[in-house]
Symmetry: C2
Subunit: 651 residues, 2 copies
C-alpha cells in the first residue's frame, strides 16, 4: 500500500494496529484501549475479560454536511416508503413510515398483545400453537430478520417472513393486512437465526418469484435432542432448512458444519448461502473464535432437491423432513457437491447480495474486513471450472472494526456497519476489487460517518432489490446512552436515518425504539396494496346478520353469537351457567374503515379487537358466578362508554 | 344573545340546531345528517340506529397559522418535556419525549412483555399476581388515566398512577426508573375508570404532597358479585375508592348512585369529585341517556375519613375495606353530608381542575356544554352557606358537539376536545362566567381547530399543575383514517401536537401510535430524576460475585446462580435433571449504563432482560431432556452472538 492509499483507507482510524484480525489477545488489547468496562467484579476464571462495551465509544458531533431530504411530514402528509421492521426479543414486527420514522403499526407475531387479542383469540392461538390444555405453547419470541417476497428481483409486497430465534419458528406476515397468518416451528433446530426468501426458481426459469424461504441455524445440538449424546459434542450439528413460501411446510433440511447466522440468496435462484462462525464447534466463546478462518457455505438448491428426489437423505427423530448431508466431508467433489464452503475470515456475520446480482458480501465481525464473493465464480467451482472455491473471493478489504452488515445504493457503493467503531463506512465495490487485485491506488473507502452507538443491521431504500434507489438508509443502533431523555436503566435503542444521495453521508435523525429494532427492509410505498376493511366471508363462523345473534346451548357447550354496530352489541345481555364451556363469536358489522370495536370481559381475562367486517372468537370456561359487563375497549363512538353487554353467570 | 355574540360563539358550527342537548332523537338526527354509518345490516330491535362514526367528519386542511416552536430535535438533541402516557387496552404505559413526540420507553404494566420479561420473571409475576398454579392471574389490561404525584401543587416526579379498567386494578410507576412497582386489585369493583391523586392532605395542612389516590367505578354490579341479586338491578351499585399512595393498600370505599367516569381533586386537598353518567341505573345505552341531567359527585374527604373513624361504615363480602354510604338519599343534610351531587347536563365525561385552583370543569359529552363549578361555592354548600348545590355552577356554556376533556394554558383559557366536531375549542373561563352571568357580549370562544379525528383526552404542558405553562398541548385522536400510509384494517391512532402559545392554535404534527394512547400528562424535564444504573443491594438474591455462581441442589429443588459480564455468563454450562424444580437467578455485574443483557432458554419459553447491576429470577420445571443453549437476547458486545450458556437436562 503506498502512503496516499494508506492514508485514504485508514481515514478516521487513529490506530492502524487495531485493524489486524482480532483474536483473544487483540480483544484483550481493546479492553486496554478503553473499550472495556465493568470488569472490576469479574472473576477471570469464570468470565474472562474481553469486553468492547460502548461506554467509551466516540460521541462525535454529526458532520456539518447538510441534507435537503424531505424528512418531517407536515400534518396529514404521507410518507413515501414503508419500513418493515423486526422487533427483536419483543417478539413482534413493526411497520414504519419513512423517511419520517413514525411507527405506524405493531404486528404481534410471537408475542402476546392484549390490545388486538393476539394470543387470546382462538384464531391467533391456532397460528401460534397451543399445549394440550389449550394454553399457548410459547409466549416469548426473538424476531431477528425480516425479508419480503420477490417478483423479478424486486419486492412484490405479498409476504414478509421473520424468524423466532428462541424457539426456532418462521412467521409470515401478509402484506395486504400486515398481520401474521402462519407460523411454522422448524424441526430439530435451536437458535434459528438468518432467513432469506429465494428470488426465482433454481430449476424452472418461468417461476420468477419467491417460492422458498431458507433458514440458518445457529446452535449445534445432539440430533434428535431428546437427552442422547449430551456429553459428545462431536455428535452435535446444525441444520439448514428450506420452507415452502406458500404452504409454510418444511421442504427439506441439510446437515452442516459450524454455526450459521445470516442467509442470502442469489438473484438467479441457483444459490442460497449462510455465513458461519464456530466452525470449530466450540462451546465457549474463546473456542468459537480460535480459528482464523470460518466460512460462507453455499447451497446449490437444485442439486439438493435432486438428491432428495433420488432418495439420498435421512430423517431425524420423529420428523419426516428429508435431511441431506451438506457437511464438508460429504461434499468434496465440486461437480456433485450440494454445498461449497468459501473460506471467510474469523466469525463472519452478515452476508448481503449486491443489487447487480454479481456478489455476496460477507462482513468479518472479528476481522476488520469485508469479503466480496463473485457468484459466477462460485458457479464455476460447482461446475468444475474453478479448482479452489476460495478463488471466488475477488476482494477482501479492510473497512474498519467490527463489520456486521452491508447495504447498497444501486450506484456501486456498499455501506457497512462497524460495530466496534460505531461507524458506517461507505466503500466502492469495484474499487475494492481493483485494490484487492493489486491496484493499491484504488481508493475504495468513500466516506465514514459516526452513528450512535454500536450499529447492527443497516438497510437502504429498496437496497435488497435490483431497484436499490440510493435515497436514504436506516441503521439499528444497539445503544443509545445519551441520545434521549433518560428513562431509567432500560434504554431505548436508536434507529438512525442517513441521507445517502450524495458522496458524503448525512445523519438525519435519531428515533428511539423499544428494543430491539433488529432488522428491516425499506419498500417503496406503491408496492404495498393494503385491504383496509375485512370481508365477512373470510371467517366461517361470521355472524352475518344481527338476527343470527343469540346463545346456543348444547349441554354445557355454549356458543354465544354477537355482532357489533356502533354504539351497541346485538346482545345487550346474555346468560351462562357456572361450568359452561363457552365459545363467543363476535362479528363487527360496521363497514366503515377504522371503525373497530373491542370486547373485554372483566375478571375473565379476555380482550380482543374486531376490525370492520371481521370476526373473532374466544373459548373460555364460565367458572365465576355473577354479573360481568363486557365492554367495548376500542374507542368507537360518542356512546363508546355506554357500549356494553351484560354477561350473567348463574351459580 | 345578540347577533354578534351569537356569531362569535357558533363560529365553525354551521347548524346551530345541532347544539341542543342530544337525546335519542337528536342522535338519530345526527345519523340522518351523515354522521351515521354501516347501519344497513342493523336489526333495529337489537341494535338501534344511533351512530356518530367518523366517516363523514370534516377533514379540513390545517389552518395557515405558522409556528416557530422547536419541534424536530436534531440528532443528539434532547427534548424539553417528558410525556407520560397510558396505553389503553395495550395494557402498558409509555414515555414520550416532547415536543418531538418520540416514544422513548414502553412500560409494561398490566400486559406481558417478552422483551423485558414482564410477566415472566418471578419479580414481575409477584407484582401482577398469580393463580394457585403459578400462572399469571391476568394477561390483559386497559389503562385509561395516568396522573403524577404532587408536592405544592405541581408534579414531584416520584410516582405515576394508572388504572386497569378491565380487572379493576391500580398500578403505580416509579418516576426514577419508569417501571411498575405495585398493582392493587380494588375489591368489589368492575369497570374502574377515572383516577386522580390528591394534592395535599385534607386534614393536616403540613402534608402538602400526595398521600391518596381516588378511583372512580363505572359498572354497577350486585354487591358482592357472587351470583346473588342478578335479576334485581336496584341492588346494583358502584363504589368510589381511596388508595394509600405509599402502601398501595385500599383505605376506604364509598357507595354511590350512578356510574362514575373521570375523577378530579382540588388543590386545597378538601375535595375529590367524579363525573357520573347513567344516574338512571340503566342497562341499555338508551336507558343510560334518558335523563337530561346527571351529576358530578363531590366527596368531602375529611368527613368520609371521620365517619370511618366513627365506625359509620359497612363491609362487602370478604373485603375488610370500610365502605361509607355516599348515596344521595343518605346525604341530604349538607352540614353532615359526605357527598354532594352537583347536577350537570346529560352523561358528562371529563372533569378537570383549573390551575388557579378555583374551578372544576365538566364536559357534557351528550350536551354541547362545559359546566364550570366554583369550588369555593361547593365548600359553601357543605358548610351550610349555600342552599342549592347547583348554584356552585358559575358557567354552563355551549362549546361544540361532544365535549370530552379540558386542559389549560395557565393564562385563563381552557381547551376542550369536541369528539363529534373533531375539533378543539379554546375558550376563556372568565368570559364564560361573564356570559353565563348575563353579559351576552362576553365572547368566550377564542379559537377552534380541526383535529384528525375524534379527539378524546387532551393535556397541555404542565396543564395539570399550578405551573401550567401554556407552551403546547397533545390530543389523543381515536381515528386516523387517511393520515398515515395504509396498513390494513387495524389503524393506528393519532396523537397530535398543537402550539398554544399564541391566540390561535397551530397544528404541529401527527404521530401514529399503537392503540390506545388514552390519557397523558406533560412534565417539564427537570422534574424527573432518573436512576440510570441498578443497585446490587436492591435484590436480596443478587449474585454479587462471579464466584458465587453455581448450581445448588436440595433434592429436586435446584437453584442456579449466574452472573453476566459482557460477553459471557459466569456459568458456561449447567446441569439439571428432568423433574427438577428450578429457580434461576441472574445478576448483571456490568456497571456501565445501557449495558443490559438478556437471557433466553429455547423451548422453555423464557426470556428476560437484566440491566446493569440488576437481578432477576425465573422458576420453571425441567420437563424436557436435552441440550438447551441459553443465550443473550439483548445486544451487548461484538461477541454477543457467542454469549451463551449450555443448559443440559439429563433424562
Amino acid at each position: 500500500m503506498n502512503e496516499d492509499a494508506k492514508m485514504n483507507q485508514v481515514d478516521a482510524m487513529p490506530d492502524p494496529s487495531r485493524r489486524k484480525f482480532l483474536n483473544s489477545a487483540a480483544l484483550a488489547g481493546l479492553a486496554g484501549a478503553g473499550l472495556s468496562v465493568g470488569l472490576s467484579a469479574c472473576n477471570k476464571e469464570s468470565a474472562p475479560a474481553p469486553s468492547a462495551a460502548p461506554a467509551a465509544a466516540p460521541a462525535a458531533a454529526p458532520k456539518a454536511a447538510a441534507s435537503d431530504l424531505h424528512l418531517h411530514m407536515k400534518p396529514g402528509e404521507l410518507d413515501t416508503y414503508y419500513g418493515v421492521w423486526s422487533g427483536g426479543h419483543s417478539g413482534e414486527c413493526r411497520i414504519l413510515g419513512l423517511p419520517s420514522g413514525r411507527e405506524i403499526k405493531r404486528i404481534p407475531t410471537f408475542n402476546v398483545d392484549c390490545m388486538s387479542g393476539w394470543g387470546i383469540t382462538n384464531e391467533s392461538k391456532k397460528i401460534i400453537g397451543t399445549r394440550p390444555d389449550g394454553r399457548l405453547k410459547y409466549m416469548t419470541g426473538d424476531t431477528h430478520h425480516i425479508h419480503g417476497s420477490y417478483t423479478d428481483g424486486t419486492f412484490n409486497g405479498k409476504y414478509f417472513w421473520v424468524n423466532d430465534k428462541i424457539h426456532g419458528r418462521l412467521g409470515r406476515i401478509r402484506g395486504d393486512i400486515f398481520e401474521c397468518d402462519a407460523i411454522t416451528e422448524l424441526p430439530n433446530i435451536q437458535g434459528f437465526h438468518g432467513i432469506f426468501p429465494d428470488k426465482r426458481d433454481p430449476v424452472d426459469p418461468a417461476i420468477n418469484y419467491t417460492t422458498r424461504v431458507f433458514c440458518g441455524n445457529e446452535f449445534h445440538i445432539p440430533q434428535p435432542n431428546d437427552g442422547r449424546d449430551l456429553d459428545d459434542p462431536t455428535k452435535y450439528f446444525c441444520l439448514f432448512t428450506c420452507v415452502d413460501a406458500e404452504t409454510m411446510e418444511v421442504r427439506w433440511q441439510a446437515k452442516i458444519d459450524g454455526n450459521m447466522d445470516l442467509v442470502a440468496t442469489s438473484y438467479d435462484g441457483r444459490f442460497a448461502a449462510s455465513n458461519q462462525y464456530n466452525t470449530e464447534g466450540g462451546a465457549r466463546y474463546e473456542d468459537m473464535m480460535s480459528a482464523e478462518m470460518d466460512a460462507c457455505v453455499f447451497f446449490d438448491v437444485a442439486r439438493v432437491e435432486q438428491a432428495i428426489k433420488d432418495g439420498k437423505f435421512m430423517t431425524i427423530g420423529s420428523s419426516k423432513v428429508p435431511v441431506v448431508d451438506g457437511t464438508k466431508a460429504a461434499n468434496t467433489d465440486p461437480k456433485t457437491a450440494l454445498t461449497g464452503y468459501v473460506p471467510v475470515p474469523k466469525n463472519p456475520h452478515g452476508v448481503n447480495a449486491s443489487p447487480d446480482g454479481k456478489y455476496f458480501i460477507c462482513s468479518g465481525k472479528l476481522s476488520p474486513t469485508c469479503t466480496v464473493i463473485e457468484l459466477a465464480k462460485v458457479a464455476d467451482w460447482f461446475d468444475g471450472k474453478l479448482d479452489d472455491i476460495r478463488k471466488a473471493v475477488v476482494a477482501e478489504v479492510e473497512v474498519g472494526l467490527g463489520p456486521l452488515h452491508t447495504t447498497f445504493d444501486g450506484r456501486g457503493n456498499a455501506f457497512t456497519t462497524l460495530f466496534l467503531d460505531s461507524q458506517i463506512v461507505k466503500w466502492n465495490v469495484d474499487k475494492a476489487i481493483q485494490f484487492f487485485g493489486g491496484d493499491k491506488n484504488a481508493q475504495y473507502v468513500v466516506d465514514r460517518i459516526d452513528v450512535h452507538y454500536q450499529p447492527g443491521h443497516i438497510n437502504a431504500s429498496m437496497g435488497e432489490t435490483k431497484e436499490a434507489d440510493g435515497q436514504f438508509l436506516a441503521v439499528g443502533c444497539k445503544f443509545s446512552k445519551d441520545r434521549f431523555l433518560p428513562v431509567g436503566p432500560m434504554h431505548p435503542e436508536n434507529e438512525q436515518l442517513i441521507d445517502i444521495r450524495g458522496e458524503k453521508m448525512v445523519l438525519l435523525a435519531d428515533h428511539p425504539v423499544h428494543p430491539e429494532p433488529h432488522d428491516f427492509i425499506i419498500v417503496k410505498r406503491d408496492i404495498i396494496k393494503t385491504k383496509q376493511v375485512g370481508t365477512l366471508d373470510d371467517h366461517p363462523l361470521a355472524v352475518k346478520d344481527a338476527k343470527d345473534s343469540g346463545v346456543f346451548r348444547d349441554g354445557n357447550k355454549v356458543t354465544v353469537k354477537i355482532a357489533s354496530l356502533a354504539p351497541a352489541y346485538t346482545l345487550r345481555e346474555f346468560e351462562l351457567k357456572v361450568g359452561d364451556e363457552v365459545t363467543l363469536i363476535l362479528t363487527n358489522l360496521d363497514k366503515v374503515e377504522d371503525l373497530s370495536h373491542g370486547f373485554a370481559i372483566p375478571k375473565y381475562d379476555i380482550n380482543f379487537v374486531v376490525n370492520p367486517q371481521e370476526t373473532k372468537s374466544v373459548t373460555f370456561k364460565a367458572d365465576k358466578p355473577g354479573v360481568f359487563w363486557a365492554y367495548c375497549t376500542h374507542f368507537c363512538h360518542a356512546l363508546h362508554l355506554e357500549m356494553r353487554s351484560r354477561m350473567i353467570v348463574r351459580p
